[in-house]
């Protein structure tokens, strides 16, 4: 998978979470479109096309980012803050997925411009349905401008 073909970015440090999420995507035949970064710093490198991701381009953003909040190095909300503060990256849809919702975090997330905020259900069946729903919505239903349109906008 070329880095510019990443449609779904999973920001998650817990290997079990990664594995189960990948399983859920796989069961929806979307696993090959998922790229995983394991901490906040790597996530920011990915977004801003730097470090290991310097070969990426801003005009081919992922169609969906699943962001955990408790992350090593840079916290999930800080990742959100930086991404949503930069005009090159702020249009990327970011969905926060946490084990439990904390009102304060939720309020801050929305104020920073998060696109959706989801609590992962305990029941794995429900989790799989949730993943399918998310993929259906953001990858199929939701409309996004083409890279060219984006580039034109950015230039102007």
């Amino acid at each position: 998978m070329k880095r510019d073909e990443v449609e779904i970015l999973l920001v998650e440090d817990n290997p079990d979470e990664v594995e189960l999420t990948i399983i859920a995507f796989r069961r929806n035949n979307l696993a090959d479109k998922v790229h995983v970064v394991r901490d906040g710093e790597e996530a920011l490198d990915f977004f801003f096309c730097r470090g290991a991701y310097s070969d990426r381009r801003f005009d081919t953003p992922p169609k969906l980012v699943l962001l955990d909040l408790k992350l090593p190095k840079v916290d999930g909300l800080d990742v959100l803050r930086e991404v949503k503060a930069d005009r090159r990256t702020k249009s990327v849809p970011i969905v926060v997925m946490t084990s439990s919702t904390q009102p304060r975090d939720m309020v801050e997330g929305y104020q920073l411009g998060v696109n959706s905020y989801i609590q992962k259900p305990v029941n794995f069946d429900q989790f799989q349905k949730l993943i399918k729903g998310l993929a259906d919505y953001w990858l199929v239903v939701n409309q996004f401008p083409s890279p060219d349109a984006f580039a034109a906008q950015n230039v102007s």
């Binding site: 979470e17 189960l20 084990s99 439990s100 992962k120 259900p121 794995f124």
Partner: protein, 622 residues
């Protein structure tokens, strides 16, 4: 001595004596005069009669100028003791015969006088014409002495003197006795008045002698005395009380004359300033020197103000004792003015309030200390609560992820390797997943319970009917297969946190649904009632109820009244309800009977002071 200065008794006697004497005298004179006049007339008539008789007898002798005959006729007059002389005059008026009763011989008038009687100095004379045949022959002269008249006058004089003397004595006796009666009450009043004015003894009373005007005067005087006595006694008593209370309160009194510029103190004030009598010079400057330097200007100003504006002086200040200690004095005074409105003096009281000040300061200090300690404890408690909540939250949060993993992997094993597993292994896998689901619910409930403690209430006016309607709709999946009669009455609109109150109804209604499961037909009622004057909302069911024996446990976390295989649940729901209601300042309580059903009541504002809502962190018991 002037009459007005004569004692009243003698005045009375004199008046009576004088009056009675004058009356007697006048009366006697009138009688005597009348009698004497009558007596004289009688004398004249007698003499006239005698003269007529003698004249008639002597007519012949006169006609014939028969001297001896005439002498004989006149000689018969001797028998009349009072006749001293007699004479006959002839027709020409010439004396021709005389008669004298006694020696020496009388003088006779040379010529007869006018006919009729005439009183001389010591005699009565009478001239009677001697007539015969209508022709005047001569004149008869008779002279009578006044001895009888004089004897009568003497007698009357004696009688009058006697009467006046005796009546004077009687009048004196009477007036003395009567005067005593009249003067006695007056003298008594006078002596009583003297006693009152001399001895200031208002307890004496004048003796009353009768019901007359003097009696009334005595009564009035005594009543006046009684009133004065009463006032005097009560004045004395109140003075005594004042003195006692001043004494008891160790209150000093002071008096500052503006005329003499002298401030005088009683012994209490000296004591309050730590001085011996005589150690204070009585001047204003001397006084101000005793006042603590920091209060001096304030005291000077307050005194000047009180004098200038003629109002009260009321100040607490500190004084410096000779031994260097500082004492608090409270002083209250007032300026007094003369008729012209000019302040002449100022007087007042003072009190040593050092002990009181110190006690007050001690109380203030203790209060502050207590307040400080309460604040510290509250802060500690709040911090501990916050930590506890944070801990609860993160534990619940961190528990959730592994739970999800256990469930997910178990399911994957079931799905992927299910066919290869023995039936028993499959069953255990189901048990694992069941346990995980329960634990998930528990963690979720704990999270929401912890969240209530952390969350601020956001109150808005909310119609409870709509909330109840929504909750009932949400319970549809559980109630679809059951026969449940919902009786939802008219519920009020209240100011509350709608999200939290929704949780309350969700818990209470799902409990009601759950515990009526054994009933063929469940009846669940939601309504409002009044308890102790406050509106209370209730949720009633006809379910299995519980024994009120355990009522004290029902709102505790993890308290369950039923076996989990009968009724699922985490034991957190009612604790959450309790937490939410108390956060609103209300109260929740159940009424239940085993096998008959249960009713849960709640109010949203129980405590009028709203302490629960002010200190939400204090009621967290998790």
């Amino acid at each position: 001595m002037l009459f007005r200065d004569v004692p009243i008794k003698r005045k009375l006697i004199s008046v009576i004596m004088l009056t009675s004497s004058i009356v007697l005298l006048v009366t006697c004179l009138a009688f005597v005069t009348y009698d004497l006049i009558t007596f004289r007339r009688e004398m004249i008539r007698n003499l006239a009669t005698l003269a007529q008789v003698v004249a008639a007898n002597s007519a012949g002798a006169v006609a014939f100028i028969d001297e001896s005959e005439a002498r004989e006729k006149l000689g018969s007059l001797k028998a009349k003791g009072n006749i001293v002389a007699g004479a006959l005059y002839d027709k020409a008026g010439k004396l021709f015969v005389t008669f004298s009763a006694k020696e020496p011989a009388q003088t006779f008038p040379a010529r007869p006088g006018v006919d009729g009687p005439r009183f001389n100095e010591d005699s009565l004379v009478f001239f009677e014409p001697v007539v015969r045949g209508g022709q005047r022959l001569g004149t008869l002269y008779l002279k009578s002495d006044l001895e009888a008249l004089h004897a009568l006058v003497r007698l009357y004089g004696g009688i009058v003197l006697l009467v006046i003397a005796s009546s004077f004595l009687v009048a004196l006796a009477l007036s003395t006795a009567l005067g005593q009666r009249i003067s006695q009450p007056i003298l008594e009043l006078a002596s009583t008045a003297t006693a009152v004015s001399d001895r200031k003894d208002y307890s004496v009373r004048a003796k009353k002698y009768g019901q007359d005007e003097l009696g009334q005067l005595t009564d009035s005087f005594n009543a006046m005395l009684a009133l004065i006595h009463e006032r005097d006694v009560s004045l004395r008593e109140s003075e005594e009380r004042l003195r006692l209370s001043l004494e008891a309160a160790q209150t000093g009194t002071w008096d500052w004359s503006f005329l003499t510029k002298k401030l005088s103190w009683d012994e209490h004030v000296y004591a309050q300033f730590g001085l011996q009598r005589g150690e204070f010079d009585g001047t204003e400057e001397g006084f101000l020197k005793l006042v603590h330097p920091e209060n001096r200007e304030q005291v000077r100003h307050a005194l000047a103000q009180a004098v200038e504006q003629k109002r009260e002086f009321n100040l607490e200040f500190r004084v410096l004792w000779p031994d260097g200690t500082v004492h608090d004095i409270a002083s209250l005074g007032k300026a007094f003015c003369d008729e012209a409105g000019k302040p002449v003096r100022m007087a007042g009281v003072s009190l040593d309030v050092t002990q009181r000040r110190r006690a007050e300061e001690e109380i203030r200090r203790l209060n502050a200390e207590l307040e400080q300690r309460v604040q510290e404890r509250t802060a500690e408690l709040t911090a501990t609560n916050k930590e506890l909540e944070a801990f609860t939250y993160s534990v619940a949060h961190d528990l959730r992820a592994p739970l999800r993993h256990v469930d997910a992997y178990s399911q994957i094993v079931q799905e992927v390797f299910g066919l290869q597993l023995p039936a028993e292994a499959q069953k255990y896998l189901s048990r694992i997943r069941h346990g995980v689901q329960n634990m998930g619910l528990l963690v979720d409930d704990l999270l929401s319970l912890a969240r209530i403690g952390r969350q601020e209430l956001s109150r808005t006016v909310t119609g409870l009917n709509s909330i109840v309607g929504e909750v009932i709709a949400e319970l549809k999946p559980e109630t679809r297969s059951r026969q449940i009669e919902w009786q939802v009455g008219q519920l009020p609109c209240v100011e509350c946190d709608p999200g939290l109150i929704r949780q309350v109804f969700a818990n209470l209604l799902s409990n009601a649904v759950k515990y009526t499961r054994p009933r063929e037909k469940a009846v669940i009622e939601v309504g409002q009632t009044t308890v102790n004057g406050r509106i209370a909302i209730f949720v009633r069911d006809n379910g299995i109820g519980f024994s009120m024996k355990y009522v004290h446990k029902i709102f505790g976390v993890f308290q369950r009244f039923h076996r989990s295989e009968d009724f699922e649940g985490t034991g957190v729901g009612l604790a959450t309800v309790d937490r939410i209601i108390r956060k609103h300042g209300g109260r929740v309580w159940p009424e239940a009977e085993l096998d008959k059903g249960a009713t849960f009541y709640f109010t949203l504002s129980e405590a009028a002071d709203g302490t629960d809502t002010k200190n939400p962190s204090l009621d967290n018991q998790l």
